[in-house]
Subunit: 204 residues, 2 copies
């Protein structure tokens, strides 16, 4: 027996979501039809016209419903630091951590030779122009700690090197709360390479 | 920074799905808006009026878009065996395994004292009537191997005991492909209790 057609359609679509396989999709579909009240309708309404109700912030590239986004227009934000991230999701993770108060710049793409992806030349221009026009003092390149992120970092760095601006990268090392026992070889290597002189740090 | 309102609404709804937390819901929402084409619309359409397009099969209680369902009307199904399951999801799992060719009976509820759930008296009547009217030869009570399932099994069994019909229950034991090392105490106990006389089985 196959699933009834309306359920099958839903399962097929749910399966495309990240981290959702056949079994989870079925579980979700059954959950949806068994919810009391109008849950499926609410979900349908939330999805309907979703893309039209959102846009990219023309300043930073963040996903937003008002342009410029709430970060770019926030008067309490420190405007001399620019954090360059790969995606709007990375931006959101940082915001939720609440550890950064400067501005962001979301890249439209990343360098990933294996996926045949590259950063379009216009992206370098867009970033450079923004740095020059807004008199930013520091650019923090916060690409992901992987090969693609590193490639993107080096490519951006060589492009921005000549600008009169401090350029930094997030530190690699042991994740806090993790354990050395379970750290992989490359992370351990990075932690050794970037080891901190305790005495010097204390003196500061 | 909070999520833009349309995204926040979607995340709030997605979080209610089983197995989906805050992080997964956000990941799904970002995935949805970044999909090329009309994926969000397709999903909205699949959800719209979903409950109205589905119903319970009036014979077996399965979820279906045509009543009676495709299992009840399938002429190739063996009609003397009735498998009683707790939910339509359990039914679907059995169908996907493709190991059973009889008819089903989906219970509307289960006995779960901790959740304050009980099997309504009409359910016993519905099952009894069906067994008597359709001249079923065997009833397989396939409740889940947990306390609630066992309670439901015993309650159904005591109700059906007097009927002229064979009543069976799915076997408890070691899951095939699993290992004794990781089997829990109760499963091991069940496997010992239901151990099979090899010589007797061979002679048969």
């Amino acid at each position: 027996m196959a699933l009834p057609e309306p359920l099958l359609q839903l399962v097929t679509l749910l399966k495309r979501l990240p981290g959702v396989g056949e079994k989870s999709a079925r579980r979700m579909a059954f959950f949806i039809i068994q919810q009391p009240g109008s849950y499926p309708e609410e979900l349908a309404i939330a999805l309907h016209g979703l893309k039209e109700r959102l846009c990219e912030c023309s300043k930073c590239g963040n996903i937003t419903d008002v342009d410029p986004c709430s970060i770019c227009t926030d008067p309490l934000r420190e405007r001399q630091t620019l954090c360059v991230v790969e995606t709007a999701e990375d931006l959101l993770s940082m915001e939720q951590a609440g550890i950064y108060n400067g501005l962001y710049h979301v890249l439209k793409g990343k360098i990933s030779p294996l996926d045949g992806e590259d950063l379009p030349p216009s992206e370098y221009e867009r970033l450079k122009e923004r740095i020059i026009n807004t008199r930013v003092k520091e650019v923090i390149i916060a690409t992901n700690p992987r090969v693609e992120g590193d490639l993107t970092f080096y490519s951006l760095f060589s492009e921005l090197e000549d600008l009169d601006v401090k350029i930094s990268r997030l530190a690699y090392g042991l994740p806090v709360g993790g354990s050395i026992e379970f750290a992989d070889r490359i992370t351990l290597h990075a932690a050794f390479e970037s080891r901190v002189d305790v005495r010097k740090n204390k003196r500061r």
